[in-house]
C-alpha cells in the first residue's frame, strides 16, 4: 500500500438546505494537508454547490462558495462536473463559478480546474480511486 492514495469526494447535495456541502468542504480543506491525490466530483444537486452568484444575506447563513475558488491554491486542481446533471438542471458551465489553478509545470499559467464528464466517465473515475468519501 503506497502512502499516497487517490481520494474522491463525491458531492451530490445542494448547498444551504443541508449542511453536507459545507462540512464536506471542511474535510477537503483539512485533507489537503495530507498530500494525497485529491479529486472532487460534483453531480446531481451537488453541481449547485459551485453555482455562480450565491448571496446568502437573506437567509442569514454563511456564503461558503468563494472557498471553492480557493481550492486551486491547495493544489486541488481536478474538479469533475457531471454533464448529465448540468443538462437536467438546464445549466451550462457558464452558470458555474470559474474554478482555476496555476500550473507550476507550465510557467504558472492559470488553467481551469473544471472537467466536465459524462456518466461513463464518472464510472471510470470512481473505479480509479482508493478512497471515496460521499456526502
Amino acid at each position: 500500500m503506497s502512502d499516497t492514495k487517490k481520494f474522491l469526494y463525491v458531492n451530490r447535495k445542494a448547498p444551504y438546505g443541508t449542511i453536507y456541502a459545507l462540512e464536506s468542504l471542511e474535510v477537503v480543506l483539512i485533507g489537503a494537508a495530507f498530500e494525497q491525490d485529491v479529486q472532487l466530483l460534483f453531480m446531481d444537486d451537488g453541481v449547485f454547490q459551485i453555482a455562480k452568484g450565491q448571496d446568502t444575506k437573506g437567509i442569514e447563513n454563511k456564503n461558503f462558495s468563494p472557498t471553492y475558488t480557493a481550492l486551486g491554491d491547495y493544489e486541488i486542481t481536478k474538479m469533475y462536473v457531471s454533464q448529465e446533471s448540468l443538462d437536467e438542471r438546464g445549466l451550462t458551465i457558464d452558470d458555474l463559478m470559474p474554478l482555476t489553478y496555476e500550473d507550476e509545470d507550465d510557467d504558472w499559467a492559470e488553467k481551469s480546474s473544471i472537467i466536465v464528464v459524462n456518466n461513463a466517465e464518472i464510472a471510470a473515475l470512481m473505479e480509479e480511486q482508493d478512497v471515496v468519501l460521499s456526502f
Binding site: 444551504y16 438546505g17 443541508t18 449542511i19 437567509i59 442569514e60 447563513n61 454563511k62
Partner: protein, 130 residues
C-alpha cells in the same frame, strides 16, 4: 392571527430551524401571535445550550432563546423525543439518573399534547422539517 410552529430537524444539519426562525420573526413583526413553537423529532436538538458554532456563523440556539425572551414565546421541546436524543433540563436529568443537563434558556420540556393543543388553539399550524 395565532400560529403554532413545528420544527422537526436540529440546528445546522438542515435549514428547517433557520426557516422556522425567519418565519416566526416575520410573523411577530407583522403583528401576529405565536401561540407556541414545538420542537419534535431531531428538532429537540435546537434546545441544547452546549453548542459553540463558529464565530462567523449564526448561533441557531441563542437566536431562539433571544427571540423567546423578547416576545415571551413558548418554546416547547417534546419530552419523548428529547429523551431519545439526550436533551434534558435539571428535572429530567435527575429523573433519568443523569449527571448533567443541557437545556438552553427559554425552552421548556413537555408532552406531545402541547403540539395537539397548538393545532386546536391556533389558526394555523406551520411545519418545518426534512
Amino acid at each position: 392571527m395565532k400560529f403554532t410552529i413545528q420544527v422537526n430537524e436540529g440546528p445546522y444539519q438542515h435549514q428547517s430551524s433557520d426557516t422556522a426562525y425567519q418565519f416566526t420573526r416575520a410573523a411577530l413583526e407583522a403583528g401576529h401571535e405565536i401561540f407556541r413553537v414545538f420542537f419534535y423529532h431531531d428538532g429537540v436538538n435546537n434546545a441544547t445550550r452546549l453548542t459553540t458554532p463558529p464565530q462567523d456563523d449564526r448561533n441557531v440556539v441563542t437566536r431562539w432563546s433571544e427571540l423567546a425572551e423578547k416576545h415571551n414565546l413558548d418554546l416547547v421541546v417534546c419530552v419523548a423525543a428529547a429523551q431519545r436524543r439526550g436533551i434534558a433540563d435539571a428535572d429530567e436529568s435527575k429523573r433519568n439518573g443523569k449527571d448533567a443537563d443541557n437545556l438552553a434558556p427559554g425552552f421548556r420540556i413537555s408532552g406531545l399534547g402541547q403540539l395537539i393543543e397548538g393545532g386546536i388553539q391556533s389558526d394555523r399550524l406551520v411545519v418545518f422539517g426534512d
